[in-house]
Symmetry: C2
Amino acid sequence: MRLAVIAGDGIGPEVVAEGLKVLREVAPDVEPTHYDLGAMRWQRTGELLPDPVVEELRGHDAILLGAIGDPSVPPGILERGLLLRLRFELDHHVNLRPARLFDGVASPLADPGTIDMLCVREGTEGPYVGNGGVLRRDTPQEVATEVSLNTAFGVERVVRYAFERAVARPRRHLTLIHKTNVLTHAGGLWSRTVEEISAEFPEVTVAYQHVDAASMFFITDPGRYDVIVTDNLFGDIITDIAAAVTGGIGLAASGNLDASGTNPGMFEPVHGSAPDIAGQGVADPTATVLSIGLLLEHLGRTEQARKVNAAVAFDLSTRAPQGPVRTSEVGDRLAALASG
Amino acid sequence: MRLAVIAGDGIGPEVVAEGLKVLREVAPDVEPTHYDLGAMRWQRTGELLPDPVVEELRGHDAILLGAIGDPSVPPGILERGLLLRLRFELDHHVNLRPARLFDGVASPLADPGTIDMLCVREGTEGPYVGNGGVLRRDTPQEVATEVSLNTAFGVERVVRYAFERAVARPRRHLTLIHKTNVLTHAGGLWSRTVEEISAEFPEVTVAYQHVDAASMFFITDPGRYDVIVTDNLFGDIITDIAAAVTGGIGLAASGNLDASGTNPGMFEPVHGSAPDIAGQGVADPTATVLSIGLLLEHLGRTEQARKVNAAVAFDLSTRAPQGPVRTSEVGDRLAALASG
Ligand SMILES: CC(C)[C@H](C(=O)O)[C@@H](O)C(=O)O
Ligand SMILES: CC(C)[C@H](C(=O)O)[C@@H](O)C(=O)O
C-alpha cells in the first residue's frame, strides 16, 4: 500500500505518528511517503501545493493527513490553497463523516441514546466552488456574491454513493438534508435526484429534512438517522453538530473520496492543528486512527478496518472518563489491540 | 396600538388567542385587526398575500403571526409566497431570535449552564434572495445555481443593529458567525463591516467564529455567547440550534424588524402550524407570548414587555416539568401573572 502522508502542522505530526503505528500493525505492507506541506512550508517557501506534488499524490493508494493550520498564517490561505485545492484536484466528491457514539464516551446530551450515523457530504460543488465576487469594494455600494453551483453530474454521483452505503447497513435508511423551501433551484435538483435514484434502491427508505429542522433533531433525537446525504456547506455544519453530540471533533474521522476510484482518497481527523497543545504529547490520536479505519475500508481491506475500529471501540469503553490523554500511550494501546 | 393579526393555520389561531389574552392585560389600548392568510385562504381562493393586504399591513404598529402551513399545500408555496414575501415587502432586515434557558426548563444538554443569547439574523439578503436558476432541467447536463447577494447597505444596517443591542446588554459581547475561509467574497464584506462599526462601539468586545465551529460551541459551551450577528442562512440554522438547547422551538420567539422603523415589525413563534395537534387545545402558547414581549420591547413599551417576560419566566419556573399543557390554561395563567 503506497500511502502519502501529510502530517502537517501543530499536533498533526503527533497524531499521524500514532496512526501509522496502528496501521503498520494491521497492514504491514504499508509504504509511507512523507510530504512536507502546511503552514511551515508556506512560511519557508511561499508554496502551498506545488503541481508536481499533486501529480505525485495521485500515484498513491491513499493519503493520510494530520492537520493543517497555524495562527501565523492569515485565515483562508491554507484552507483554500491546500485543503480545498486537494479536494478539487483529486475530485473528492464524497466527504464521508461517520458519527457514532462509542460506549464509554461522554456526550454533551443528557440522553443521547444510540447514535450511529454516516454523513455523506458532497465535496466539490455547492457554495464551495469559489464562484462569486465583489463589486465596488469598500464603498457604501459594495455588493458581494457567492454562487452555489450544483450539477446533475455532481449531485447524482454523491447521492448514488449514499444509497450504496445505506443499502449495505442494517437500517437501510437515507435522509436528504437541504433547504428546498428556500433554495428552490439547487434544492429541486437534489430532491429530484434522490427520488430518481431511490427507484434503484427499493430496500432503502428515504426521508427529507430542512437543514434547520435537522440541526435541531441532531440534538434532540440523533438516533433517528442512519445515512445522510447533503450538500457541501450544509454538510460542513451538520457534521460538526454530529461530531459534537458524539463526543467532539477529538473523535471525529473523515474521508475525502473519489468514488470512481480514479484518485486516491484522503483521510484525516476532523480536528485542527491545535497549536495550543502542540508538542506536549497530549493530543488524542483516536480520530486519526478512526480515519485509518475509513481508509482501510475504502481500500476494501475490510478485516483490517474491522480490527482498527474494534481496537478503538474497546479502548474507549475502558478509558478513564475524561482522564488525561498521552498521545503515544493511546497509540501503543490501540496498536496492541489492533494486532491482537 | 394598531395590531395586525395573522393567526394562520393549525395551532396558529389557538396560540394567538392566548397571546392576545396576555397582550390585552398589559396593553389595554391594543386594537387588533385580523387577516385571513395562510393555507386555508390559498386553498379557497388561490391567494397568498394580495397587494392591498400588504399595504394595509403597513398601516399598523406591529403584526402578530401565529403559524403558517398545512400538509395539503405543496412545500415552498406558503414559505415563499407569504412568509418570505412579507419579510422582503416589509424590509424586515433584522430577524431577532433570543435564546434563553429559563429556570425550570429542561435542556437536552447534560450541563447547559446559563444560556442567554440574542441572535440577530439578517433577513433580506444572502442566499434567501431567490436569485439563481436551473439550466437543462431533467437532463444529465442540468446545472442549478443559487446566488447569495450581500450588500454593504444590507450588512451595515443589521450589524449596526446588533452592536446597538450588544452595547445595551451587561456583557457587551458580539460574535460574528460566517464562513469567511470559504465564502471569501461575502465573508470579507461581513468581516470588514463588523470591524468598521466596532470602532463606533469601543465598549463592545467582538469575536468571530466559523459557522461550523459555532454550531459545535452552541452545544458544548452555549454560555459563551451574548449577541450574535450572522447572515440569513447561517442564522436560520444556528437559531434553531440555539432553540434546541434552550428547550425547543416550543419556547422560541422571534421578531422580524425593519430597524429604520418605516415598516411595522412582525412577531411570531418559531414553531410551525403543528397540524398533528391542531384543534386539541394542547399547543403551548408560550413562544407566542414571548414574541409579544419582543413586540412590546420593539415599540418602546419597556415596562409592558418586562411584565410579559416576567410572567413567562415565573410560570416556567413553577410548571410541572414536561407535564401536559392546556393552551388556554397557560394563557390564563400568563395573563393573570402579567396583569399582577
Ligand atoms: C477548513 C475548512 C475549509 C473545511 C471545510 O469547510 O470544509 C473544514 O471545516 C472541514 O469541514 O473539513
Ligand atoms: C419557513 C422558512 C422559509 C423560514 C426560514 O427559512 O427563514 C423558517 O425556517 C424560519 O426560520 O423562519
